[in-house]
């Protein structure tokens, strides 16, 4: 087990280096002018542009730029973004908010999705099953910005049940509504995934054996069936967590959450290489770690899968 983890950690190093270089190259290759908009409605004076390019090594060829960047990162310095703010400071703030939001969405989609999936899967064709199928279909087919704006208007502005915006005060209470909106789509997927897996495993031989032995229904489902059925769901949630961190741009925009997704989007828009590479590298690392955790969970859930 320990050997396996170490091997996996070592494998991450080339992945991270490759990913950062690719992203750096892509940001660099984008057309457009990084100083656009920095001087209002007119082009920046040549002296300003020259100083800007010197500050961010924009005159160097790409490999040199990248080498300078990695050299700095090795010393723990992620550089400054184009607003002159250290990227590490930015990321600390934004990851704190985004991680909160991502975890909330993950918990909401996990608990509700698994519960709905189990209830639907046990009585296929029943009322609950149909209810889950119809409602998840509805959630999947409505775009997230529609869900977001509608819930914001009804719950936040009209009936004032929850605060409509998050802003700089990212408390759990304020993140509740965006968490639901962000998790809603995956919640529907998890419910459907769970439903089909439970249905499948419930007919399998070992469940029939457990029934024949006279085990309680709760134990048959809660321990035997559920554990096996969770494997695809856990895989999906691991992938989804990464997607929630970086891909919550729409939700962040609607609720004014200053998170990582929007940060990367703005960085790409302004050709702000430092910001993009810093944020994406952090995302890649998180993604790899979550992946490792998911792999280890397989072994816990299904003893037949072993990493030794």
């Amino acid at each position: 087990m320990g050997k396996y983890i170490i091997r996996r950690l070592l494998q991450m190093i080339p992945v991270i280096i490759g990913a950062t270089f690719l992203i750096y190259a892509m940001v660099f290759a984008m057309p457009g002018d990084p100083t656009a908009g920095k001087c209002g409605e007119r082009p920046c004076p040549p002296a300003y542009v020259a100083e800007f390019n010197a500050k961010y090594n924009l005159n160097d060829p790409l490999p040199v730029q990248y080498a300078k960047y990695v050299g700095k990162v090795a010393q723990g310095d992620l550089g400054e973004n184009q607003y002159g703010i250290p990227v590490s400071e930015d990321l600390k703030d934004r990851f704190a908010v985004t991680a909160k939001l991502g975890l909330m969405a993950l918990v909401i989609e996990g608990v509700i999705g698994i519960l709905a999936g189990v209830l639907a899967g046990l009585r296929k064709g029943g009322f609950i099953d149909n209810l889950v199928l119809v409602s998840t279909l509805f959630v999947i087919s409505v775009p997230i910005f529609v869900t977001g704006f509608t819930l914001q208007y009804i719950l936040g502005l009209k009936f004032e049940i929850v605060p409509p915006l998050v802003g700089s005060d990212a408390s759990f209470y304020r993140l509740l509504l965006p968490g639901v909106v962000l998790g809603s789509l995956s919640m529907a997927y998890i419910a459907r995934l769970m439903r089909s897996n439970i249905g499948e495993n419930y007919k399998s031989d070992y469940v029939r054996t457990a029934k024949a032995k006279g085990l309680k229904q709760t134990r048959i489902i809660g321990v035997h069936t559920l554990r096996n059925s969770l494997i695809p769901v856990i895989t999906f949630m691991g992938y989804d967590f990464g997607a929630l961190l970086g891909g919550a741009i729409v939700t962040e925009g609607i609720f004014n959450i200053h998170g990582v997704g929007g940060y990367i989007f703005e960085g790409i828009h302004n050709r702000d290489g430092m910001a993009v590479v810093g944020a994406v590298t952090a995302l890649v690392i998180i993604y790899l770690i979550v992946n490792l955790i998911v792999d280890l969970l397989y072994g816990v859930l299904d003893p037949r899968i072993s990493h030794d």
Binding site: P45, A47, Y48, G156, L157, P164
Partner: protein, 542 residues
């Protein structure tokens, strides 16, 4: 005399930006109190007055800085602020006397040297300050610019030998003189721009650090800047001027999306927003949402279509240019594409500036397909494709296509809207004179004078003259106007110059921008300055 229009005597206006019926608060120790939250955005650069040319940082510095001149928020009339008097006999040698008692937020006095040092710093080429070009009329400006060739004029020995402009001289603690290289009758009017703010001695020690925690001499002092979230300011107790604020603190809350800022206003989480998102403009939804807690008035943005008929010979005949102008249905486009957030224009000069005159374009800005067809025939027609180039990074797609459709339907020219990647790319192409056909262009004023919409854009050799416009009659009017000893006379000449230019039509006027603002029930006295910002110092908190 330039001072005739802005002598200190004219300053009978009240502290709060000149509305005669409000008696809330007087300069320096205004009543009111309370807190204002307004929507903001992240400044693109550190907060240094001479290096801020965009609105996000500009809005913040507007509230914090005091300049020689203050622009009346209702009329854009320049009023004396730190200046006691600005005198000249020849529109070339100016003597500036400043009031005593003004203090910077760090407690030091505002003296003549604070102006001269700051101005020299901003103008000095190697400091690479955006506001540098504002100082170009001052004698000695060229001597402190970098002379190198290539991308970086300041590299390898291109640095200037001196750091000071010969045209600025400190006489004593409260007097300094300005000498311009040519006659500039509206120089005093320009001195209210942020780039002309004085800087305290502490600025020069470490400008970079100063930009994170700026110190100025205005009614509000800087408190904190929580990156990407909020910038907070509070009332400065020792503010000596007449334009003091009412609220105790002003917070710029940073929103990523206009929609979110609007939602925050509806939820009472913010007091003022200076923009209304498109979805609330549709059908004037914002008016039913906010009742009378909103305003819309023209601001200094002016949009037009430019062309260079020296390189595109097909546009050489003025009749063709007039025909294109008369084939554009401005009213319909403004209504359908902009939801009335713009206003069709009758000239290139914005209505908010001193010297503006309505109807300068004459009949050429009217939509008249029949007349346009006649003119086109008279001008020899137009063969082939006409491109209308726009920068693809600024939301211009819809309206450029609408303009092209309008031209196509009215006079049958095959007009195609074509994007460039971004504004910089477009300007590079324009600078190299390689854009044929038409292209979009806009202007936001630097200072509220008609001259600012003519000389920097259409005079021969000007930095923004991408039209290669060159008309001796126009040039003469500009020179005479700059030398006029009377503001009204100068304005008349500038207006005449605008008419001459529009008769040649290197630029087809389209529309003016509007400032549209909304506010909550907790504040009142919200007014928009000519620059399109809310005049925050004048706002009272209920």
């Amino acid at each position: 005399m330039a001072i005739a229009s802005i002598s200190a005597v004219a300053l009978v206006a009240t502290a709060c930006g000149g509305s005669s019926d409000d008696n809330s608060g007087s300069g320096g120790d205004g009543g009111g109190g309370g807190e204002i939250v307004v929507n903001g955005c992240t400044p693109e650069n550190p907060l240094i007055a001479g290096n801020t040319g965009e609105t996000c940082g500009g809005n913040v510095l507007d509230v914090m800085t005091a300049k020689l001149i203050h622009y009346n928020p209702e009329t854009a009339e320049p009023e004396m602020d730190i200046a006691e008097s600005i005198e000249t006999d020849d529109n070339q040698n100016f003597t500036v006397k400043i009031k005593e008692g003004y203090k910077f937020h760090d407690g030091t006095d505002v003296l003549a040297k604070n102006f001269v040092d700051a101005w020299n710093y901003t103008a000095y080429g190697p400091n690479a300050q955006q506001g540098s070009y504002f100082y170009s009329p001052i004698e000695g400006y060229d001597e402190i610019q970098c002379s190198g060739e290539g991308d970086d004029p300041c590299a390898d020995g291109g640095k200037p030998d001196t750091k000071k402009m010969s045209g600025l001289e400190v006489v004593d603690d409260h007097t300094f003189t300005i000498k311009t290289s040519e006659k500039v009758s509206n120089l005093p009017m320009r001195l209210g721009y942020t780039a002309f703010a004085p800087q305290p001695d502490s600025f020069f020690d470490d400008p970079e650090a100063f930009g994170q925690e700026p110190v100025a001499a205005g009614p509000y002092k800087f408190d904190s800047w929580k990156k990407n979230q909020a910038i907070t300011m509070s009332k400065f107790d020792d503010y000596a001027g007449e334009y003091g604020g009412n609220a105790d603190t002003i917070t710029f809350k940073i929103f990523k999306e206009q929609e979110a800022a609007y939602t925050a206003l509806l939820a009472d989480e913010i007091d003022i927003i200076d923009q209304i998102p498109a979805n609330a403009l549709v059908g004037d939804k914002y008016k039913s949402d906010l009742g009378d807690r909103q305003l819309s008035q023209p601001n200094s943005t002016s949009q037009w279509i430019g062309m260079n008929y020296h390189i595109d010979k097909k546009l050489e005949n003025p009749d063709v240019r007039h025909a294109i102008s008369m084939a554009i249905d401005r009213d319909t486009i403004v209504k359908q594409i902009f939801n009335n957030a713009n206003e069709p224009s009758t000239g290139v000069v914005s209505p908010v500036v001193d010297g503006f005159k309505e109807g300068q374009c004459g009949e050429y800005c009217n939509y008249d397909p029949e007349k346009a067809k006649e003119l086109l025939k008279k001008g020899g027609g137009y063969d082939g494709k006409l491109t209308l180039t726009y920068n693809g990074d600024g939301g211009h797609k819809e309206w450029t296509e609408a303009v092209c459709n309008s031209v196509k339907n009215a006079i049958g020219i095959d007009c195609v809207a074509t994007p460039t990647v971004d504004f910089a790319t477009m300007l590079t192409k324009l600078g190299e004179n390689e854009l044929e056909g038409l292209w979009r262009m806009g202007w936001v004023m630097d200072y509220p004078s008609i001259e600012n919409y003519l000389a920097p854009i259409f005079s021969k050799g000007a930095a923004s003259n991408y039209y290669q416009y060159d008309n001796p009659e126009f040039e003469k009017l500009l020179t005479d106007a700059a030398a006029a000893d009377d503001a009204a006379k100068a304005n008349e000449m500038y207006q005449e110059a605008e008419r001459v230019m529009l008769e040649d039509m290197p630029a087809i006027p389209l529309w003016y921008g509007k400032s549209i603002m909304g506010w909550s029930e907790d504040v009142s006295d919200v007014k928009a300055t000519p620059f399109g910002n809310p005049d925050l110092a004048a706002v009272t908190v209920e």
